[in-house]
């Protein structure tokens, strides 16, 4: 039985009225890996997670967690999965310690043992000083950590993290990443959703890119990035009238057309090899095209999106909102 995947989902569908929030998604999460679900707001990431966690009924398709059917055995699924939401789901009116005591008691611990578990977890997550403060007065990062601590009380083998770092400052974000890595080192399997490519890149072993309720790509971070080039060269020409000429030169050098940015004068060039940036710059100099700025960057999520779906991640936002 150890061969079963942590998550095995086929053709998942969720409809809200006429809107298909999740439109036939397949997912396969192997044991012990971090699997990232990447996509913009409204792509269906959270909805997918909620269906797998029994928080939303599944409208179509099949899903199993460690071989247990999600639709037929919700109570068993809830024993296998720990959920940490985008908005910390802890009780505002209780203190940090009381929250953990409550969840420990709900999971079957007697009060004295629940107290010990709470003190133990508060220590591990560096929340001791917040033990007796109401959550109302917690910072965003502390809430998130408490929320994650609460998900770990039962030591679930599979942990769902819904946008674990959205809204956190960079330092807290780094701490959260370390925490997630430690959990995996201790044998947990993690399914996380994120809007950030760099987060998926840093953490995930494999990534599925979701757009408008469908999976548009899947692979390791390296495979995904290779599909848009390992890096991008951003240029701005001094004279906007030369934009077309610059684009032609780039195409000559790389054999591919650059993407022209809306504020004419800007060019975004996907590079499979960062060394080719120099070739482009030299060719432009020889062609007497003046440039004002040049920068080589990692592809952004938006560029991955543009390449994979033919539209910007932002367009999606506007349509859904």
């Amino acid at each position: 039985m150890t061969a079963t995947n942590a998550v095995q989902a086929h053709g998942l569908v969720k409809t809200f009225g006429a809107f298909r929030a999740v439109d036939g998604i397949d997912l396969e999460v192997r044991r012990g890996e971090i699997f990232g679900v990447l996509g913009p707001n409204g792509a269906g990431k959270t909805t997918t997670l909620k269906m797998l966690a029994t928080l939303l009924p599944i409208d179509g398709g099949e899903a199993e967690v460690f071989g247990v059917d999600v639709r037929r055995e919700p109570h068993r699924i809830r024993q296998l999965v720990g959920v940490t939401g985008q908005y910390a789901s802890v009780d505002e009116n209780l203190t940090g310690a009381e929250n953990l005591i409550l969840f420990a008691r709900l999971l079957g611990q007697r009060t004295p043992q629940a107290r010990r578990t709470a003190a133990d977890l508060l220590g591990r997550f560096g929340l001791e000083e917040a033990a007796d403060r109401q959550i109302k007065n917690f910072s965003g990062g502390m809430r998130r950590r408490l929320d994650l601590a609460a998900s770990l009380i039962a030591r679930p083998p599979l942990i769902f993290l819904d946008e674990p770092t959205t809204g956190l400052d960079p330092r807290t974000r780094g701490q959260m990443w370390d925490t997630i890595r430690e959990l995996v080192a201790q044998g947990s399997t993690i399914l996380l959703t994120t809007q950030y490519l760099d987060e998926a890149d840093q953490l995930a072993d494999r990534i599925a890119v979701i757009d408008r309720g469908r999976k548009v790509a899947e692979g390791t971070p390296d495979q995904l990035k290779a599909s848009v080039g390992s890096s991008t060269l951003h240029l701005r020409v001094a004279d906007r009238d030369q934009t077309a000429r610059a684009a032609a030169i780039v195409e000559q050098v790389l054999g591919e057309q650059p993407v022209l940015t809306p504020e004419a004068g800007g060019l975004t060039i996907a590079l499979t090899d960062a060394n080719r940036a120099a070739d482009v710059l030299i060719a432009l100099r020889q062609g007497e095209v003046d440039i004002t700025t040049a920068a080589v960057r990692q592809p952004t999520l938006d560029e991955v999106f543009l390449t994979l779906t033919g539209h910007h991640a932002d367009d999606e936002n506007k349509e859904v909102a």
Binding site: R76, R78, V81, G85, E98, L102, R105, L107, I153, R155
Partner: protein
């Protein structure tokens, strides 16, 4: 490296055994344990928001004094003669108001993020509902106690003695608890806490005023008397009067208990079903 996972305590699950056989549903013992944990949460909340107690402390004082002095002379000839009639009536009224508040607060609570966690935990679906309702027994108890004390202070001398009064007190609390399942169900189907309150008012006013809580039934027109007779609140009021004023365990007490039990039997499953399906 310090580990983040808590030490494996006996009875808790462990990362390594994802393949062990898990119970398919919570046992009765688990359900009771989980409901008690939820009740504990509710009492913590009460302690931090004492304004939740306004309706069960100030309202009984106000209504008992007001109704007794305004209607006493007109209905029973004197305030003292009206008290045996009105005190059980006010008891039923406050129980109903308090149980409405239970539903409203529960609806408010359900909109909070923590309910997402409750739903994701392997706990009985009834526990998040049963817990607060159990804790609200404290509120019904407070309301009933204050009403009786105000009555006694105004000169109410119940003929049923201490035991009769205690029995009436207990029946009031049970009735409040039973009726709160109606409002709890409303809470799971309504869109907002305000909606629960609005609908609750529409249920509460006819039920309390179109009953024998404040006036003798015989003074009403025939068609209204017919409704008042089948109104469950009337049965509760009559039962409480029988217990407190006469110390009699009459058939009305039986009817009141049966009525309350039927309400729970119908609305508790409805509430749990709509909670676990919709929320």
């Amino acid at each position: 490296m310090t580990t983040l996972l808590p030490d494996t305590a006996p009875g808790t699950t462990s990362v390594t055994d994802a393949d062990r056989v898990l119970p398919a549903r919570p046992s009765l013992r688990d359900t009771v344990h989980q409901s008690l944990a939820m009740a504990w949460r509710a009492t913590k909340k009460m302690r931090r928001n004492p304004e939740q107690f306004f309706d069960v402390t100030l309202q009984p004082i106000l209504f008992t004094a007001m109704f007794a002095y305004i209607f006493g002379g007109a209905i029973s000839g004197s305030v003292a003669d009206y008290l045996p009639l009105i005190i059980p009536g006010i008891l039923a009224q406050t129980a109903l108001t308090a149980s409405m508040a239970t539903g409203t607060q529960m609806r408010e609570d359900m909109d909070k993020g923590v309910f997402d966690r409750f739903k994701s935990l392997p706990i009985a679906r009834i526990a998040p509902l049963a817990g607060p309702m159990l804790a609200d027994l404290i509120r019904y108890g407070t309301a009933a106690t204050i009403t009786i004390l105000v009555g006694l202070a105004m000169g109410y001398r119940p003929g049923g003695g201490v035991l009769g009064v205690l029995a009436g007190w207990a029946l009031t609390i049970f009735a409040g608890w039973a009726l709160s399942w109606i409002f709890c169900w409303l809470g799971t189907v309504a869109r907002s806490a305000q909606a629960v309150q609005g609908i609750g008012m529409m249920i509460m006013f006819p039920l309390t005023f179109l009953s024998n809580a404040f006036v003798p039934m015989e003074t009403l027109p025939g068609w209204l008397e017919a409704f008042v007779k089948i109104n469950p609140v009337s049965h509760v009021v009559t039962a409480v009067r029988d217990l407190m004023n006469d110390g009699n365990l009459t058939g009305e007490v039986g009817w009141a208990l049966l009525g309350c039990t039927v309400v729970v039997a119908i609305f508790a499953p409805l509430a749990v079903r709509s909670y676990s399906r919709k929320m």
